[in-house]
Structures are given as structure tokens and as C-alpha cells.
Amino acid sequence: MRVPSAGVRRPNDRTSAATPSCHSDGSAPAAAPGSPVVALVGPPNSGKSTLFNAVTGGRRTVGNWPGTTVETGRAAWQLPDREVELLDLPGAYSLDAHSPDEQLTRDLLIDGPVVERPAVVVVVVDAAHLSRSLYLVAQLREVGQRLVVALTMGDVAEGRGIGVDSAVLAGQLGVPVVPLDPRRREGGRRLAATVSQALAGPARGPRAVGERDASDELAVADERFAWVEAAVGAATSSPAEPPTTFSDRLDRWLTARFVGPVAFLAVMWAVFEMTTAVAVPVQDLVGNFFAGPVTAAVETAFAGVGLGDSWVQMFVVDGLVAGVGMLLTFVPLMVIMFALLALLEDSGYLARAAVVTDRLMRAVGLPGKAFLPLVVGFGCNVPAISATRILPSARHRVMTALLVPFTSCSARLTVYVMVAATFFPRHAGTVVFGMYLLSIALIVVVGLGLRRTLWRAVGEEPLVLDLPPYQRPTLRLTASVTWLRVRGFLRTAGGIIVATVTVVWLLQAVPAQGGAAFGHVPPDDSLFAALARLVAPVFAPLGFGDWHTCSALVVGFVAKEAVITSWAQTYAAADPTAGQSPVELQGHLHAAFAASAGGATVAAVFAFLVFLLAYTPCVATVATQLREIGARWTAFGIALQVSLAWALGLAVFQVGRLLG
């Protein structure tokens, strides 16, 4: 973390992502120390994060639904006459602290000492929803802050017959107003010039506040609403009865009683079916490339320098090429998955999904809003746990953070796809879809269990959710979000995988007993096999007590991607002449499951998949939970996940075996 520069108190450590995330933000260039700080604030869905990216070239996760920006972003922003540091604060309708995000924004903008506040605050205001966007301006005008209003969504407003006169609005608010379109990167220079002028000029005094009882929160709010309505009335023209829009017609179906849930399931099924159908053939191509030409080239290179058949060559071929190469075969899967999720976010559909699932969430004692972090969890659990901060109640945050690990993240998807393609090649998509349904069922059942045991007295939080208009996703936004997430996934997973591969290879290279040299140990005699055999009896009643499978699950505690790399490594080491193409690995898995299950292969495979779904996702998730809910709840969560996974795996195998 950079040393704070003068002029503003940095958002403190609780807002900085010290934990790796599969969806980690890009690292935008930072401004020079001592640069003035400009803060960007605004309601969710106002285009704030998109504006941040457009003007700084930095990258933040952006999306068309509430709560996307959970943590602060920062990047250097070049104005005409100087460089400033731009802070992207969490989305907030007001500075009233109802959630940790709003508390943070309030701390930074009005509760902190004047000298530590940002030099200028840019309030992003949605032209199509002017009234609600200006409440923040009303509050900030009471503290004499240098303000600039960035007016976005002009095209949406125009489409609804709403005209906004930005000059009149500026006069009413007493603040410069800059119309712009960050999605198309228009107006950024005008905003930079205006902020530059604001920095050079004096701060305006606080606005005149009408008579109000400062101790009555609602009376104070009413005065602000009246001030906002006066400004909106003077600066806008709109039809008396707003027309019914395309979004309204679509919502009549997509949020409706029966069609809504069916449409939601259909969308989710289509996403996962497309992911598997398109990605699997590409995965095979990439896998064969690593198993064939890359392995051959590496072996030739080692032979050329006289290290052929050495332990160094074995480490590179059996460790790095087999393990990391296999991981890279899942890049196409990640690209498709993240692109589809980004399209759903940007189109506005995910907010409707939260409405549809509200009743389900309510049944487990959570507000519909809790669905948002849970949906994020299907991509990656790490940002999902961070996203629980959008929930105002601490108990809801803890409960949601405990449920997130049961959302089936995309890393687990890689294993499902591989296992399903191996054992059920004709029904792989359906098996994978079934895993997602099971994941949802687990969330409901565990949620109900927690509610009836630990949180019997928790009250219900009402659902009040903004529905942004549907919009055609932009290619640039979808591509940038996808690239950001894939890059974050590779960066985080890559580091963990390289460390894991090294440890696993070392354990494989060390003989468990005398008689073999380092690096030339038969797999069955290695320290790795000895340790895995110690663990194997625990999984024997579940039908997969084979040491390769058990060691893969142990390694999978580090990261789920490592399950496959561990298999690739152990089987490649077992049969060096076979290479490690996906087809050969599939053969090994068939043999292993058939042997360990005593013939009940299908039951054992399903038990394995269920165990994989339910046990602890990865070390990064544990680290994020520690940060968000503390050690006690994190330890409780791990114990819950492992014991539930084992019990479910046992039930699936034993019942499956009986049913034959």
C-alpha cells in the first residue's frame, strides 16, 4: 500500500484488498505523492465506475447493478494543468451511514477533519433519475465542499422524453454541471477542465438551509428533498405520464410469479451449457498442445544441454508443464464464463434475478439483496465475501459470508467439467447444471439450518431494490470486465498453483523409504503417496479412497484448480511415457474410481463431485473470511464445510451403491 499523501486521509486498511481475489482489480497507475485528491461519489448504477475507468484508464470492476463497487479504487488522473489522484468510492444514495460502504464515504467526505477531506468531490448524477441522485449534492452542499456534478445517462433520459438543462441545473445547485457519456468515453476532457478550475478557485460556502429541526432526521431529509425538487423542477422537462418502456414490458415477464423463476433457471442453464459445450473442445486442443509439442520441445531442449532425464527436466515436464499447462487449458472456460456473467451484469438482468430470488432468500432469513454476493460467488467466492458489505446488518453479513463458500465458483466448474466429460461425456452439461442446482439447494438448507439454530431472532430486512433499465451491453465493457477477471484469476491462481506444484513435486521426489534416489522415486514409494495413503481411509466410505484422488482433494484446499493439476502431475509421474493429454488422464481416472468404489463407479463419482462442491473452496476464501467476519466464524465455517461435505459424500455413495 502506498504511503498516504497530504491532503486526504486514505481510506483505511479495511477498504484495501490485501487478500488476493480471482476478480482482483487491475492496478492502475498511482498519482505522484502530494497530488491533490479528487473523490468520485454517486448512487449505484449512475455510471461512476465506468467514468472512473474512462478518465483514468485504470480498471475497476463495473456492472449495471447495485453493490458492484464494494471497495475503493484509486488511480492517477491527468487534468489540463496538473495530475490528481482520483478515488472511486462505493456507490451510495446518501451520506447517511446505513452500511459499512456508506459509513466509509461519510467518514471520508464529511466526518473527517476539513484538512483531510478531498480537494474536490465529483458527484456522478444520473440524468434519468435526477431526484434521487441529487440528494448527495444537497448533503455535500451543506459542508462547503468544492463540488462538480458529472451528469451521466443523458441518452437514457432523452429516450424517456426527459430534458435536462445543465446550465439551469448548475445555477440551481450552485455547482458546475458537466454532461458526459462515460460508456462512450465522451466528455472526459470537459470534466477534467472543470475539476481543474474548481481546484484553482475557492470553496463555496454552505448552501442556505431552510428552517428545520436538526435533531429530526426525517425533517432534515424533507428539507433536502424540497431543495432537490426545486432544482429538478426548474431544470428538467418531462412528460406528465412517463411512457411504458421496453424494460417495463420485459419486467412484466422476467419478474413475474411463474415466468420469472423459470426464466432465471433457463438463463442460468444456458450460461453453463454454453460454457461446457463451447469450451470443452477448445480445452482438448490446448491440452494436446501442451502434452505434445510443448513437452517434446522442453525435453529436446534439456537433452541439448545435457540434462535429459535429470530431476530438473522431470520437475519442468512433470511439474510445470503438466500442472500449469493443464491449468491454462481452462482459460477458454474462464473467458466464456466471465464474458457471459459480464453480459448479464451489463444488460441489467442480474438486478431482476435478485428480485426473483428474494422470496427464496427470505426463506433462509436473508434479504433479497444478499443474493447479489451469492451470485458473485458463482464466479469467485473471494469478491463475493467482500461484497457482503452491501448488507446493513452485521448478522446478515456473517450469515451470507458463511453461505458464499457453498456457491459453486468457476474454479470448481473446471473440475466438474473435466470429471463430467470423463465419466458422462454425453450428459456433461446436464451434470454440471445439476451441480449448480445442488449448490443452490445447499445454500437454502444450510441457511435454514443456521437461521433455526444460531440466528432465530434475526429480523427481516425489507427488499427495496433499484431496477436499472435494460441496456444493450457494450463490447468494450464486456471485454474489459472479462479480461480483468481472467487476468485476476490467472494471476492469483497462477501464484498459488506454482507454489502448490512445487510442493507436490518435491513430496513426489522425496522417497518415503530408502532405496531410491531423489527425483527417481516410483510414485507409489514417494512421500506424497505415503501422506495421501494416511488420508485415504477417511474417504474410503465415500468410494474414492484412492491416494491420487485424496491427494488431489488435499491440494484442492489450496485452490480448486489444483485438483486437476495434482491429478495431471501424479498420473504423469506414474506413467512418464504416456504424456499427460486429457484423454490419457481420463483413462487413469476411470481405472482409479472403478477400483476404489468396488465397481460402483457412478456413485463414487457423484460422491466426489458433491464433496468437491461442499468443502472449503480455497485459501484465498479463508483469508477473505478472516478479514470480513473474524477467526471464530471462519473456523466455524471451515468445520461446517468439511463435515457437511463428508456426510453428503457418504450419503451419496452409500445410497448410490445400494441403488446400483
Binding site: S131, E217, D248, R252, T255, F258, E460, V464, D466
Partner: protein
């Protein structure tokens, strides 16, 4: 016409497609403030656009769209606009 009549049981019983005026909100101060910030406050005209799968309502306040759950809708008192 039912659409023109004041629904006695709050917003939850207002018929789909009707436009109503908010006359009172029976929620805690924090939740009232949150609704007010999103445009649902005493005196506001609200269009009831649809019924959600959980029994809640999709509301139109100007050009904004808001989904509220069944219990919340029932605590917003309205009269015909």
C-alpha cells in the same frame, strides 16, 4: 373502475397499472428514509407496474423503477392519485 379507487390495504393491494399517491409509510425511520431517497415518500405519485414472483411490486416513480417486497408494499399507505 378499480384502478381509480383508493386501495384500503396499502400499496400491496393497489391494482397493477394504477397510479396512486403515497399518504403514509409504516416503517422504521431508517427504512422510511431509504424509501424516500428512492422517491417513495409522502405525496409522491407511484405507478404500480407489476407483481414480482415473491408477491412484491415493481413500482414506477417518474422514470425510475423500484422492486419492493410484499411486506414493504403493504406498509406503504396510498390513495388514488
Amino acid at each position: 373502475m378499480r384502478d381509480q379507487q383508493a386501495p384500503p390495504g396499502g400499496l400491496g393491494t393497489a391494482s397493477i397499472g394504477s397510479t396512486v399517491q403515497v399518504t403514509g409509510i409504516r416503517l422504521s425511520d431508517a427504512h422510511r428514509l431509504r424509501l424516500a431517497q428512492l422517491g417513495v415518500r409522502v405525496g409522491a405519485r407511484v405507478r404500480v407496474l407489476g407483481r414480482t414472483s415473491g408477491g412484491g411490486r415493481v413500482l414506477g416513480i417518474g422514470s425510475a423503477r423500484l422492486a419492493v417486497d410484499r411486506a414493504t408494499a403493504g406498509r406503504v399507505e396510498v390513495a388514488a392519485a
